[in-house]
Point group: C2
DNA sequence: TTATTTTTTCAAAAAGTTTTGAAATTTCAA
DNA sequence: TTGAAATTTCAAAACTTTTTGAAAAAATAA
């Protein structure tokens, strides 16, 4: 496969995967393009390469910067801003996990804490079912929280190495 | 908080969370309702409780059954079908991970294998950047694959217990 | 059987999300 | 300063996904 074709495949597939991962298609495509670009690109480069509008490009670059996945690069002597993606994939995964944890898991745990305090006699079958479900989720949720925090801080090899020891 | 209100909160929040988790809102709401129901419910119960149409209810119940999260229950002497959700949350998490891995991670790994075989001289900067990105992803992806497989098979306490030992 | 109830399907409508592009704002070199 | 270039904003349009509901199919009791 030729490089140009491979790049295109990569960008379009990463876009499709992104949609399953809480990231919209364009955002994922811009990310993919920057990941496989040897040098930083301008907004115009990205617009042209992906055939998307200026507004769309701008909004999604900004979102990628918020996630910490892309950074603005100022090249001396250039008027335009350039953008480049974090290339260390393990760092990328940690950034994504960190962001999604903050947006999804943390609010869920907060909610479960509130819901566990439902009024009523726990010997009542319907109360029991509710409380048991909520408590079960809270337990698993807290464990996931710890595990993910560990992962966010961990070095790639430490983490995987440790896990691998467990199955031997 | 009263049980009725708590249930409603739980259902509506689980619905909202679901949308971040590759599960549509109604599917997640039906799942939530069944999780906190002490007894199996019929399609009509679900329609009424969530104010949704018959078709919508039917399609989403079917999808929940496909994921293994809900099962059909036949009660003797009853004409209608009843539905109940798997209540063991650790099992629920494993089922969701299993399904999402199959739909998302497995195809990604397949794609990366193909893309790694791009033609050209790896001393070429643009080829190198592409191959490095793809290889990096493949490495992390394979590790995630193993870790998730382990998790899918693992007992809750074995898995978490082992992880916890590592941070002490 | 046949009639009635229950479940399933699917085209069209509604709802939700993303994208566009032109106007407003900001930046910066001269 | 000023004006050209670059960036940002956001309402409307395009697109995508979900939901509805009525009709078809399947299941079951009599």
């Amino acid at each position: 496969m030729k490089l140009t074709e491979a790049k295109q495949q990569f960008i379009s597939s990463w876009g499709a995967f992104g949609t399953h991962w809480g990231i919209n298609r364009t955002m994922a495509q811009i990310h993919a393009l920057l990941l496989v670009s040897a040098d930083p690109l301008t907004q115009d480069d990205i617009m042209e390469e992906l055939n998307i509008s200026r507004g769309n490009t701008n909004m999604n670059i900004r979102e990628l910067i918020n996630w910490g996945l892309v950074e603005r690069v100022i090249l001396p002597g250039e008027r335009k801003e350039f953008f480049s993606a974090e290339k260390d994939i393990w760092k990328v995964v940690r950034l994504i996990v960190k962001e999604r944890k903050k947006r999804e898991l943390d609010p869920l745990l907060k909610l479960l804490d509130q819901l566990e305090e439902v009024e009523g006699d726990k010997r009542d079958k319907s109360i029991k079912t509710f409380v048991d479900t909520v408590s079960g989720m809270k337990r698993i949720g807290k464990q996931a929280d710890k595990t993910l925090d560990m992962m966010i801080k961990a070095d790639e090899h430490w983490f995987v190495g440790s896990l691998m020891k467990l199955i031997k």
